[in-house]
Point group: C2
Chain length 386, copies 2
């Protein structure tokens, strides 16, 4: 049908862009070594501290989230030291790849896709390996939708005092409560293309004094991702190398919105989208994939006989909606829908109705309108609870 | 609640902007007397002819639709001549105001708000007043949602041969079939802020040779809206006075989209949005206001005891959705929702769900999800019929 369908990124990232952020960069050329950019950079640093809920410095790097993960590992792990890797999916496996690339000694806690790594598992591993110097994990595992009990895990780490806790919160920030300083998380990693409502290109890292002590004395070679250089430069409102100027300009606009609605408001907004979507999926009798879901992404199992790739194709071709399939060992088995950042209830509700059509045409047997009804009922309860 | 709600113009105009059209103007400064603009102007003229379904020239004026209506009247009605005005709502009443402003002798067919002027009424009036030199009407009356039988009316006019038929198709173009040449409509008036998906600022008029013969010999004084001047200038890819450059640039992008999907596709798209919305309203047991609706706007009567302004306010404050109330004598009695131009099914479905919440909170008793269900059922039938 020759009908209008607007492209909508219902993926766990990249996510819908905040238009005013995009236009701001378009209309305001800036050179990154001039005073106006430094002033902007400082405002963005301060805004990020509020989003990360920390008084630690938040470094801004011109790289994707994976670059941020690598920076966290190569700067904190001196040769000969041991890392604890908590792995619950494809992004957890990236910690293993990084450790193997650099020959870092590792202890791995690996749970099946859909499960979360539990505080008790971290506790046991730290007991068994008192020489672990840093713990690496995901706040939310994007490939499965699972959320970790970050507060509980942090408590296990902090009662040891010394080990550094590194959290990939790339899809966790703005979707899940992350109380960096209160819980004592040493490094928190974020990415521009998630709840920050921007294109990819910037990673952010908040870094505690405990982590800095490790970083300063870490003898591992690193150049572009050397956080010591960035710390020195960014204390002056600069970056060590050319920064991703347009994304940083966009961050200013995005932070204006986020801080106006409050970080907790942004988390609640993702919670509304996630809750409404899951209410529909449960009403349809389908299974939410992870044992414990975060708000960032809804991963669910379509009914037997329904081909996920057919559903994705129909959502894209007919409704302009981009959703994701499974990754890693879940490829071809689940569907994933993102709720990070710039989404509102109206479009989530519309997406649910379109998903019902696509699932039906791919072979599912669903009562017409039941998904929207469940989402509307969820909305009413959500409103009462606020 | 501190949640994200994106502003959506579900009004009968202005309508949602086509983003690529807006960005095109932003990134391409143009001077209106240079060759590149003339080339663009000629492309827009040719594209408009396809949308208007005419081989007549389509003039592009820097004014709103009301300016286009005035231009049509003051250029075709010589002093002492008589006009037939078909009035079915607030925009029909504008023809009366215009005629009175210029002391133009008039015969008025006025039907109650919600009704349409019928071909038989035009026929009778032309029989009763054989000296009528021009007929003025709306293809769709925006204030009530009513559609006229333009083909039938044009047939009555054309079998007389001489009178000039002037159609305000400002909300009709792109929502209703308008076969200008096939039906023999002399002047068709459009506006940028409707199905053309752009901000207000440009009116377009297609003008037949029959109309030009009247315009050329019309002795009424006119300056800015003198169509003879515009005809001469626009034959050279110019305008007589400074044109609305950014809107004309945007028209190029909008026409690219419209001609790619086809004018009939654009009409069908509005039909889908309108049909889905009306299916919901009828399911809710409410009354569609006009006797015969076009696709441009859905006007409906909320249940007794439900204050339309309360529904509008809730739609705006909670969901970012702007809808309209009644105009003229229907002020405070109906609600109106636009379907012109850049809308897709996903957001119409989401809007319907939000409208259900707003109507419910304003006192209506509705079965949760029944509107979305009706819209989804409509979508399925719509797909089968194409």
């Amino acid at each position: 049908m020759n009908l209008i369908s607007k492209t909508r990124m219902f993926m766990p990232g990249p996510t819908p862009y905040l238009p005013e952020a995009m236009v701001q960069a378009l209309v305001t050329p800036m050179h990154h070594r001039k005073e106006d950019f430094k002033e902007l950079f400082r405002q963005v640093q301060a805004g990020l501290q509020q989003v990360f809920k920390t008084s630690n410095e938040v470094l801004i790097l011109a790289c994707s989230g994976s670059g941020g993960m690598e920076a966290a590992m190569v700067n904190t792990m001196a040769p000969g030291e041991k890392a604890l890797l908590a792995v619950a999916g494809k992004f957890g496996e990236r910690w293993i790849e990084l450790a193997d690339t650099y020959g870092i000694d590792k202890v791995v806690i690996q749970v099946p896709y859909g499960d979360s790594v539990e505080p008790a598992q971290i506790d046991a591993a730290l007991d068994a390996h008192p020489d672990i110097s840093a713990i690496f994990l995901q706040a939310t595992e994007t490939s499965t939708g699972a959320m970790m009990d970050l507060e509980g895990i942090a408590a296990q780490v902090r009662r040891r005092g010394d080990p550094v806790l590194v959290t990939d919160a790339i899809t966790g920030l703005g979707t899940t409560p992350i109380n960096t300083d209160e819980w004592g998380i040493d490094i928190v990693i974020g990415g521009s293309q998630k709840a920050f409502m921007l294109p990819p290109g910037v990673a952010m890292l908040s870094i505690s004094e405990r982590a800095w002590r490790r970083i300063e004395k870490c003898g591992r070679p690193r150049y572009y991702l050397d956080l010591r250089r960035e710390r020195k430069a960014q204390a002056q409102g600069q970056s060590a190398y050319t920064p991703a100027v347009s994304i940083i300009q966009g961050l200013k606009s995005a932070l204006d919105l986020i801080l106006k609605m409050g970080v907790d408001g942004l988390v609640a907004n993702a919670g509304l989208q996630a809750g409404a979507t899951r209410a529909a999926i449960l009403r349809w009798g389908m299974q939410i994939f992870p044992r414990v879901s975060g708000n960032a992404v809804t991963a669910f199992v379509p009914p037997a006989g329904v081909d996920p790739s057919k559903v994705m194709k129909m959502m894209r071709d007919r409704f302009g909606v981009l959703i994701s399939g499974g990754q890693g060992s879940m490829k071809g088995k689940i569907l994933r829908i993102g709720h990070l950042g710039y989404f509102d209830f109206l479009e989530t509700l519309g997406m649910i109705g379109c998903l019902e059509i696509a699932l039906t045409e791919a072979g599912a047997s669903l009562e017409t309108g039941s998904g929207c009804r469940a989402a509307l009922e969820y909305y009413r309860e959500f409103g009462k609870n606020r």
